[in-house]
Symmetry: C2
Subunit: 229 residues, 2 copies
């Protein structure tokens, strides 16, 4: 493998500090959680600190994400044309359906992560934060994301056949979701487009209609991003 | 020094790809610009790609920032309480003065970088992007940012005495700026708060008044962030 261990450690530290629970952590907490040598961890942390990718509070002895990440994140959102394209569609979807629209991607082996979202201007809606992580199991997004994996199973073939997945209350009790994969150049599932709805606000047939709507939008995004250079 | 070279290389690559000119670069362009060994550069790039901090386009052979940075950037903006506090004040400043308010920090030896901004709801205003970099020389922000350096010079003492800096057309012809430092615990200049105005829309005395306003707001932010744990 052509990877650099120290860079992987740096990345794992940043991803850990991006989780609410670990947003402020001591050296020991970070090293323990990532199961890495404390002195290696310290060296990587100090380097990240010097680069302003991590901030250290001397009084509390806690590390947290650094302000330069705000710059990198904004630049990535501006420069990644496929995300920019998807965001336009998220906005349309949220406004037209009245449900929260999200763009998610796979994170690690068994989680998905929200990288863009649009909430509709209605009183009752599902709120989600960019960066929020969820387990893959039991949700419509999960069913789509499992397409990323090599193992073909029943659910995956269902998604492949219909082009979308529906999950009533699977996500969390009271929350239903519909999702469709955004596929780059007919082969790579790059993102999943999804709508999150309050279950009591939609019927089973209403969910099917939402799913068809999300599928159509995901197809349009897939075509548009596949045309990018 | 307790730094890790590979992590510095990774950070420098990300910062390079965050610049408009280098948003899509080949391995050779990156290695040449950063004056690093090509095979080291490739290993770091592949690691960053695996971690989704960098994306690689196989067809064009270009690297660009990766989508996971969007997640990290959003989390940093949410978790860094001082940035969150400053953003509230930016919004007030922009709406009350009708000028573009920005929060900047030092980047490298001689640049500053915009990490948050708020534009007023008026027809003519200066637009700036988060992540945009500017040279320190000749601007009011530069004068404040030079306080970060160890060398005391005339301009620095002026900023220290008055608590703000004013630059008419110094930024770029037609653009004037006023700026004041945001100081953490009475010692560390953490950010610079600034207003960017179209020069023709403000008189010299008007600029002075804006400077006093920015100074007052920067002081309030300084006090608030210094009280954070």
């Amino acid at each position: 493998m052509y990877t650099v261990p120290a860079v992987i450690t740096a990345s794992r530290i940043l991803k850990l500090l991006a989780r609410s629970k670990y947003r402020q952590s001591t050296l020991t907490e970070i090293a323990d959680h990532l199961a890495i040598n404390k002195s290696t961890c310290l060296r990587v942390l100090r380097t990240l600190q010097q680069e302003e990718l991590v901030r250290y509070n001397e009084r509390t002895r806690m590390y947290m994400l650094g302000s330069y990440l705000i710059v990198l994140g904004n630049r990535a959102a501006d420069f990644l044309d496929d995300v920019a394209i998807a965001r336009v569609h998220l906005s349309n979807l949220a406004h037209e359906t009245g449900h929260t629209a999200i763009l998610a991607q796979k994170s690690g082996a068994d989680k998905w992560i929200c990288i863009a979202k649009e909430e509709p201007p209605v009183d009752f809606r599902i709120t989600i934060t960019i960066g929020q992580q969820f387990p893959i199991d039991g949700t419509s997004l999960g069913a789509c994301l499992r397409m990323l994996d090599e193992t073909v199973n029943f659910e995956q073939s269902q998604v492949l056949e219909k082009g979308y997945a529906v999950s009533m209350d699977g996500f969390r009790k009271g929350i239903s979701s519909v999702a469709a994969p955004i596929i780059y150049k007919d082969q790579e599932v790059r993102y999943v487009l999804s709508l999150l709805a309050v279950t009591s606000s939609v019927s089973a047939s209403g969910l099917q209609k939402l799913a068809e709507r999300v599928k159509a939008e995901a197809l349009r995004i897939s075509e548009q991003i596949s045309r990018l250079v």
